[in-house]
Amino acid sequence: MQRISAAVLAFILLAGCASVISENVLREADQSVSFRDVLRDPERYRGRIVVLGGSIIKSIPKKNETWIEVLQQPLGGRLKPKNTDISEGRFIIKYRNYLDPGVYRQGRRITAAGEVAGREVLPLGEMQYSYPVLINRETHLWEEEPAYSSPQFMFGIGIGI
């Protein structure tokens, strides 16, 4: 009996902490490479798998691919980007399919495991910004958090005319 409850407890704990990126991909990822390293010299880390996250700045559908510009934020529990102004910079995730900018919209948080693939230099205001590029391996788009605590259960009866 005790063993079962321990197993159940362990399961709940594990499920609660489960990472949003699958274990296979995480195993490939190089945890020793920080975003700062990649930002400074993306060429040096070309081909490595890294896990990065942040909030979406812009999604750009292109012919046969989509680019998502992300403001990097440190990852917290379950690899969720923290809601903070601390950021080391920006990066781009490239996808080989169409993603709708209405879903991958500005402000939503995203965590992605991807392969470092050099850089893209794009205008930002009046300067040129050098974005490190990831080719997507696996992505998790986080639910938006409403400003208020939304009801978890709703029950209603109504008659409309």
Binding site: S59, I60, P61, K62, K63, T66, W67, Y98, D100, P101, G102, V103, L141, P146, A147, Y148, S149, S150, P151, F153, G158, I159, G160, I161
Partner: protein, 176 residues
Amino acid sequence: MRRNRIFLMLICATFLCSCAPFSREIIRQSDEVLTVRDVQQSPEKYAGRMVLWGGSILETINQKSETVLRILKFDLDMQKKPARSDKPEGRFEIRYPGFLDPAIYESGRLVTVAGKIEGISTALLGEIKYGYPVVRAVEIRLWEKIDPARIPPYWYDPFWGPRPYWDRYPYHPFYW
């Protein structure tokens, strides 16, 4: 027993009818299954077809004689209300002959439209050209937004906290 069942059916029917904001006639006429892709692939084939589509507003464009709503299309629930999702089926355009105020029809709000397919309108999206199926509106339903100020307080318990429930007992006014 028999009476009971009839009564139950009656209640169900009342609920089902009263929930849908569109007339039965329109619902009967319109196609809910037709997809954005179907229309994109053969717009001529589906021109004139009545559809009942819905989604969330991406953009409201006021033109001289009409209003264009660009919509991210979601599936409809039983009430014909769009169900938000991160896997939308695509985009489409509602064209409404008249003025719809963009301060009301603002980005993010849910609408359901009954209308006729009119073809494809192409617009730039990022760096691609997206073909929006055009729906000429016959009836539009704008869904109420959930106003945080109007959520009744009984939905959250002010005594809810990080402490486990057995710890809460003596401090909680309702003793549960």
